[in-house]
């Protein structure tokens, strides 16, 4: 490693150390350790299950057990790994643009950024444990030299997935930054929505199975998930005792990974060297943009928040990823639910999307002031009430999540019949009911533990570790509480309990939110001395 690259690594280490020993650093450090402590037992439990499955598959050698252990496990692992990395996982990376000035090869900087981002990531430890479980299960079933080849396959799988995620993140940030693509995506979404309504009302192809029959080529889509596809092909042969037959697949994996990494780096470098795009805000020849048809002091705040959210790549990604995830669920999971499971169980994917639309954008409610930068000063310079500032943020975010929920519901509605009215009402009540609880708790976290965040999804953390831990607790408690009506509805076989229960919980949340908002507004005012240097980026 060159001295310059060592200096980069040292810089990362020192900055991390300063952050942990600086203001609020102890809390951050404790949160990181707590996240690792949470990841380890959880990972160990899943690893044990994977180990048992692998042990059975290796003992069987061929057949259904091998198919499950090779295909389902790796595709499942890859899918969750990618989804988590793209959405809730917010590990820190190096900003390539800031290092281009130094005489160090940008490729090495990029590689160091990827590696060091993984080193401090509790979720990376979770995946590593799962892969260890597979290796341990195989070793117990059939000890031998072939385990080295399996270890190589697992390492290649991990590397391939990391590079795949990097490529996806870079590609998405380019694609979503293009106004032309965004506008066409919106047109497509509207067409899709109209098509969905026509399909549901008109009784046109109502299941993914029928769509698959029309387009058998869909099975080729597995190669879009090449990290899992290559590994599954190699592992099938390894479990069957054909180590030599696995090598071509491993070579293919290595080649595809190298290509993906190279491409991801090329895209990142191009973006870093591209500078500001000089993009017009759009909407008006003189840039005054769209306006909200509301008056009063909160109108300006609300409009600013709306524009900020819609211009943030995370919001755009939510509009793409949430429908994709719900589409996957509608395609792969929903058809497996037997009819005798009942209406409530069949409506769970729709309810899941309602909750997921809040969770996906948790960075916005856990670090609500993180993107203000210098503009945060204006929130204290202008004659504004702190409570109004927070309320505007919450209201704008609620609008965004409602839109994301609507987009995410489309694939589920297309895949099945129109859900019963109680299910639709329930989903809307669940979405609206969770918002005040999440936003009230999020406001407190945002004011007490803010962090300057960049306008990107792939670089820099947008939520501090302590806030991330708080978010985990908040989401767990709120979703746990909102799951109670489901259990009650299932037990009493009374689906109508869901909209009624969730509406009642939402009303209680609204009351609690209003009570908390005034106090949180005062807290925002009181904490301005500590908050501004952090949010404005002076300490970033």
């Amino acid at each position: 490693m060159s001295s310059a690259l060592l200096a980069v690594a040292e810089l990362r280490g020192r900055l991390l150390w300063r952050r942990l020993t600086g203001r609020g650093g102890i809390g951050e450090g404790v949160a990181r350790v707590a996240l690792f402590l949470l990841a380890l037992p959880l990972g160990a439990a899943f690893a044990t299950a994977l180990g048992v499955g692998t042990w059975q598959a290796v003992r069987a050698g061929r057949g259904l057990r091998v198919e499950v252990a090779a295909a389902a496990v790796f595709f499942g692992l890859w899918q969750t790994w990618t989804a988590v990395s793209l959405t809730v996982n917010d590990r820190e990376g190096l900003d390539l643009a800031r290092f281009l000035v130094y005489p160090v090869r940008p490729g090495r900087i990029y590689a160091v950024g990827l590696a060091s981002g993984l080193a401090g990531d509790p979720i990376a430890a979770f995946w590593a444990l799962l892969l260890s479980g597979i290796l341990a299960g195989a070793a117990l079933a059939r000890p031998g030299a072939w385990l080295l080849v399996l270890a190589v396959a697992l390492v290649l799988f991990a590397v391939a997935t990391v590079l795949y995620v990097a490529l996806l993140q870079e590609a998405l940030s380019v694609v979503l930054a293009s106004r032309w693509v965004r506008e066409w995506a919106m047109v497509l979404s509207v067409l899709l929505a109209v098509g969905a309504v026509v399909a549901v009302v008109g009784g046109a192809p109502r299941s993914w199975r029928q769509l698959q029959a029309v387009a058998p080529a869909l099975s080729v889509a597995q190669w879009l998930a090449w990290p899992a596809a290559f590994t599954a092909a190699a592992v099938r042969r390894l479990y069957a005792g054909d180590a030599v037959g696995a090598w071509p697949w491993l070579a293919g994996q290595a080649l595809a990974s190298a290509s993906a990494g190279r491409l991801a780096f090329a895209v990142a470098l191009r973006q870093s060297q591209g500078g500001g795009g000089g993009e017009a805000a759009g909407g008006h020849a003189r840039g005054t943009g769209w306006r909200l048809p509301v008056a009063g002091p909160i109108a300006g705040l609300l409009e600013k928040e709306g524009k900020y959210l819609l211009r943030h790549p995370l919001a755009r990604m939510a509009a793409v990823v949430v429908p994709l995830v719900s589409g996957l669920v509608a395609w792969k999971v929903a058809p497996l639910v037997p009819p005798e499971a009942g209406d409530v169980v069949r409506a769970l994917p729709l309810f899941g999307v309602a909750a997921y639309s809040h969770v996906f954008v948790q960075a916005f409610w856990l670090n609500a002031l993180g993107w203000e930068r210098g503009g945060a000063r204006l929130l204290f310079l202008a004659p504004l009430d702190g409570a109004d500032v927070l309320a505007a943020k919450n209201l704008a975010l609620y609008g965004l999540t409602l839109g994301v929920f609507g987009l995410g519901a489309i694939p589920i509605l297309v895949a099945g019949a129109l859900p019963p009215p109680w299910a639709l009402a329930g989903a809307l009540a669940l979405h609206a009911g969770m918002a005040p609880w999440l936003h009230a708790a999020g406001n407190a976290v945002s004011v007490l533990n803010p962090k300057a965040a960049s306008f990107a999804v792939q670089r820099h953390a947008s939520v501090p570790a302590l806030s991330g831990l708080a978010g985990l607790a908040i989401v767990s408690v709120v979703t746990g509480a909102f799951a109670l009506p489901v259990l009650l509805a299932l037990r009493l076989e009374a689906p109508w309990l869901l909209p009624a229960g969730w509406a009642a919980m939402g009303l209680a949340g609204g009351w609690a939110y209003r009570r908390a908002l005034r106090a949180q507004g005062r807290l925002l005012e009181a904490r301005r001395d500590a908050l501004l240097p952090v949010v404005c980026g002076d300490e970033a």
Partner: protein
């Protein structure tokens, strides 16, 4: 009538005074230059007077109102261009001006009309639709000034308004401010390091050094027959000798790769 009056205004950071027992007197309609060397407490003072920072002790009356008790009423009547600016960089210039006006209580139509007028005055019409993040530093300064003026403030705080912008932009901003003060529409309180510009535009001066107000009065009183620079150096310290050392910069030498330069190579 005083636009700003402070009494024992103090701010401590970790027990150390950044501003100590400040007794400012800024007459209404004055063009007040608040000067001091780096770290003297200028920005801290402005932050306290505009509500960005809470004083550790003392009090301030701004436009006749107690800042601690009537903060919102004071904020509505002042405009501020703070150090580091206060711009939402993901809004376009036109959006920033209009929304800024709305945040200060203007109705949407008035804010929009004034924003268009301000863009003309600041010569930013061609860039009105670009995001603020893509503006040059000088353009951002001009836009920040426009934002500070859009609601028609009675008192304007400017923290280093001439820093990092070219001479043409400095002249434009100077002319606009002088015109507004001459019309009697505004009191201006500004900090700056550009003494020659300050000397040409201010009517009153305060010099702060190590957190304490060292001098205050009209320009003539503070300069006492000399120049503002002389008065400033007299308060803030004599000219310093150039730093010693830096011997490797003394003459043309090969770079470190070819010549093994750097501290090790000199031993």
């Amino acid at each position: 009538m005083l636009a700003i009056e402070t009494s024992g205004l103090t701010r401590l950071f970790d027990g150390k005074a950044a501003v100590e027992a400040l007794e400012l007197r800024v007459p209404t309609g004055a063009f007040y230059g608040f000067l001091g060397p780096n770290g003297a407490g200028k920005s801290t003072t402005i932050k306290m007077l505009t509500g960005l920072l809470r004083p550790s002790a003392g009090s301030a009356r701004v436009l006749g109102l107690d800042l601690a008790r009537r903060a919102l009423a004071v904020k509505a009547r002042v405009g501020v261009v703070p150090d580091g600016l206060a711009l939402f960089e993901r809004l376009s210039g036109a959006e920033m001006l209009r929304i800024h006006g709305q945040l200060y209580g203007l109705d949407r139509a008035t804010a929009g009309r004034r924003a268009a007028e301000m863009l003309e005055a600041l010569e930013l019409v061609a860039d009105a639709g670009r995001l603020v993040q893509d503006y040059s530093h000088g353009m951002k300064k001009k836009l920040a000034l426009g934002c500070a003026l859009i609601h028609g403030p009675e008192l304007l705080f400017l923290d280093e308004p001439f820093e990092g912008i070219d001479a043409v932009a400095v002249a434009g901003i100077r002319r606009m401010l002088q015109d507004l003060v001459a019309r009697g529409a505004l009191t201006v309180f500004l900090t700056s390091h550009v003494l020659e510009v300050v000397e040409r535009i201010v009517s009153h001066v305060g010099i702060i050094h190590r957190g304490r107000l060292a001098r205050q009065g009209t320009l003539e009183e503070v300069c006492a027959g000399g120049t503002l620079e002389e008065a400033f150096i007299h308060v803030a310290g004599e000219e310093r000798a150039p730093p010693r050392g830096l011997s490797w910069l003394a003459g043309a030498r090969p770079g470190p790769a070819a010549g093994g330069g750097g501290p090790e190579g000199e031993r």
